[in-house]
Symmetry: C2
Subunit: 515 residues, 2 copies
């Protein structure tokens, strides 16, 4: 059976093939046999059948599985059992849900292994990455690069036209958005919209508990400043978004990197171990939903455990939720803040990844540190531009936000799928790859002898911008990793760039072996 | 001779009176007597005559003096001598130049004494004012206050309509201002415009030396973070803008307050004394042109001295030039940065006081600390919104800026004049008052037994917002001072509020005496 090149266009064919295959299986395995005769529960049996079809290539990547209703009818079981079977496969990473469309076989590329979690715990380190990071970022400002580096989606994906209209309207009607700034901590309309949104995710806030900031970066910066002093240690995920390491470096703090699993997020065992000595760790920065760069999602039980542990040990949690809205399934996981009853969590986010990167508007719900953050925000930048705040509030209010988000998520999911496939085609066979459940970032582990900082230089020479693993850790453990941005629109140039990256990876391995 | 109530409307009458008075004086003093017969130079003699006329009330406040040409003709002397005489009187604070209009007798109110400079040098203090400052600022967010507190002009004074048009045009045509942000340190067009502007004031910069920030506050914050660590001491003017004290407090620094003269700025003798111990003071923050709250202007020789002294002693200078463009005379004084050849001066400013408070756009030319500030800016807020940057650049480029500034300066000068007169009419007789040469702030010294924090509370009860002196120093030396914002448009309500403030000052003195 041929593997289909454009799986999404062939959904119905694939679904039909699945149906015929299921029928064949039904005959072989006699699905009417009572459950009690088998050691495994019914849903596992159905799942195993489907798994075999996928692994044999009978169900190629991208093909749609039957709906819950269809599957239940075919298997003569309840819809609940059918759904449980599908969810089981989803947890295995074999299939994926697409909102309002059903379950699909994941890209064949997911059969590449996931990157290994590095288990060893390092000691807290001073951060000395600024030179490297700024070299990478500065290089990226060159025009006409193939943008596989920075975590910035193509600007065509944002609701630019609607925002322009709203901005134009507010620009005409708001009397004092230009000639005035107020010293309160955010525009009431925007704070109300953010508050309402969080209420859907079980985070109950009052509008005045939300402080509007210049992007999430200002929010994270202020949170760290509120709870640490120079020389203090901050626990972070490993690997971790380099911007957080830069803040830590700029504040003279130390980073204690906690091993983080590409699927389930921070290792709760390692975190427990690392924070046993009371008073040693002054804060935890964490991205429970769609971590950057791993795109991992912490299970709810992990979130609750981390919250309880940190609260009991007196360690403030700074939650970075900037990719949370980009979760691919229908209901996004709750932020960790949802379980916070003592104000120990400072929840930071922004509109940079979802609506308008150019507006530079973020926020923080700072829990117990509300007053400190208010003071720090004033001394840091006084106020955030009102015109953009009100434009964002109106955008959220007029109902376009969810529609836009759905489109964004579908696009990102498809892009990740395509980039993953291209990586599988072109990169060294030992390459490992994350299976993101949201966002638009892929984390790639190359063979150990491929130094990705060297690969970065080779790629930049050919106009391809990637983020080397080096800048995501104070250690050298990710020196053979790289982060790929899947936020740009798929073009033959991107396919070509990924092919070239694969060739350069091979070259890099040879070069490194020779050195 | 009656003192005219609306002096500016009576300019010609006043000038005529002056002319007739001068003629009378000429007869008495025989201006043809050769200069050599007198101990004073010719220009002093002319100046003395004019001074007598002013002090006798023959030339009331607001009346226009004859032009240089007329005065020279009347006095049968050279235009240079006539001009020197007028400048001498200007230095005495008796007359003032108004751009393109000539010299005018200053408001009679300037006959109130100027606030005394407090000479004693305190030791460096930790700053613990945040509670008080935030109490004051928070109170000010109440609607419908008479705005005599915050240093924010009425929004009608900003070129809102032109900015709206430019913003609307850029909103339509800029492809990526919403859906994208770049990680460079500012939009090239804006940096070029700022560079050109500074070239007029002998500050020679390259566009890439200018880092665009979220207002001057972010710039000041980053500069301090670049050169200090928690516990360090920073020399500041005294009194000083409370926002700077808040930054110092938030960074855990100590403030060493240097006595500052209401006319000539920081005491260079005290600064020399305070910075003798090498390594003790880690930075100097200074506002050489239109200091907040004193509106003082440092003479050029003082600037050069301070620059040489600080450079020799290895102390970085953070120059806050936010009011520099609001200097009332034709040519604004050079920033201190103009003499800086070693990169020891970080020049900070913004458009908040001149064009668009609501845009929150400022900048810093960071000299030797360019790279550090670049890093810190990234970790502080990544980037500044591009749409506002380009709008400001186009505004500066299309030539409206100077025209707008002239109008703004004239308005502020008139407002200061009116508020000063009202203060003289209504405040206790011992009140002292600054004579601003730019900006829109008045610094008022009340009798010692009038606690202005108490006055603040009394005034707030009646909807009048003022800034109490308490928040402009870590000491209690300005507890009987207050800052008055003259940036709001003159209305009977403001006159009424000033009258009421005067009454409350009297009441406050009685209350304090009774306690």
């Amino acid at each position: 059976m041929p593997v289909l090149n454009s799986p999404l266009l062939e959904v119905h064919t694939a679904a039909n093939m699945l149906n015929s295959n299921l029928s064949a299986l039904e005959l072989q395995n006699n699905p009417i046999t009572p459950l009690s005769n088998h050691s495994a529960p019914r849903y596992r049996k159905i799942a195993t059948q489907l798994q075999q079809l996928i692994e044999q290539g009978a169900l190629p990547s991208g093909s749609r599985l039957p709906s819950v209703r269809m599957l239940a009818a075919q298997e003569q079981t309840s819809p609940v059992t059918a759904l449980t079977a599908l969810r089981y496969l989803e947890n295995l990473g074999l299939i994926e849900a697409r909102p309002k469309s059903g379950y699909y076989v994941r890209a064949k590329s997911v059969l590449l292994q996931e990157p290994r979690e590095i288990v060893g715990l390092n000691t807290a380190s001073e951060v000395d990455l600024n030179q490297t990071i700024m070299r990478v970022i500065t290089a990226a400002s060159r025009p006409n690069l193939i943008q596989l580096g920075a975590a910035t989606p193509n600007h065509a994906l944002f609701p630019v036209n609607r925002l322009r209209k709203l901005l134009a309207a507010n620009n005409r009607t708001m009397l004092d958005a230009i000639g005035h700034y107020d010293m309160s901590m955010g525009h009431t309309e925007l704070r109300t919209q953010i508050m309402r949104r969080y209420a859907h995710y079980s985070v109950l806030l009052k509008p005045e508990e939300i402080i509007v900031t210049v992007g999430a970066m200002e929010a994270l910066n202020l949170c760290l400043r509120a709870v640490t002093q120079r020389g203090d240690t901050v626990a972070v995920e490993s690997p971790i978004y380099f911007g957080i390491l830069q803040i830590i470096e700029s504040l003279g703090l130390k980073a204690l990197e906690i091993p983080t699993n590409a699927r389930t997020g921070i290792s709760i065992e390692a975190l427990e171990l690392a924070t046993r000595n009371t008073g040693q760790v002054k804060a935890l920065i964490i991205m429970p939903t769609i971590q950057n760069p791993l795109s991992s999602v912490m299970p709810d039980e992990h979130k609750q455990y981390v919250l309880e542990l940190m609260t009991a040990r007196g360690i403030p949690i700074i939650e970075d939720d900037i990719y949370g809205e980009l979760y691919f399934e229908l209901h996004r996981p709750k932020p960790l803040k949802a379980w916070d009853t003592t104000g120990n969590v400072m929840l930071c986010s922004s509109f940079t990844k979802t609506i308008a990167p150019g507006f530079r508007v973020g926020w923080v719900a700072a829990g117990r540190w509300q007053q400190e953050i208010t003071h720090l925000k004033f001394t840091s930048s006084v106020a955030t531009a009102a015109l953009f705040q009100i434009t964002l509030a109106r955008f959220m209010e007029t109902g376009g936000y969810d529609h836009h988000l759905r489109h964004l998520r579908e696009t990102f999911q498809l892009q990740i799928h395509r980039v993953s496939e291209a990586i599988e085609r072109h990169f060294p066979a030992e390459t490992c790859l994350t299976r993101p459940r949201g966002g638009y970032l892929l984390w790639v582990e190359l063979p150990k002898n491929c130094n990705t900082l060297q690969l970065f230089d080779l790629a930049m020479n050919e106009g391809i911008f990637i983020m080397p693993g080096k800048i995501f850790s104070t250690s050298d453990r990710f020196d053979h990793h790289l982060r790929i941005n899947c936020g740009d629109l798929w073009t033959p140039q991107i396919e070509q760039a990924l092919k070239r990256l694969g060739e350069l990876s091979h070259q890099c391995m040879v070069d490194c072996a020779e050195q």
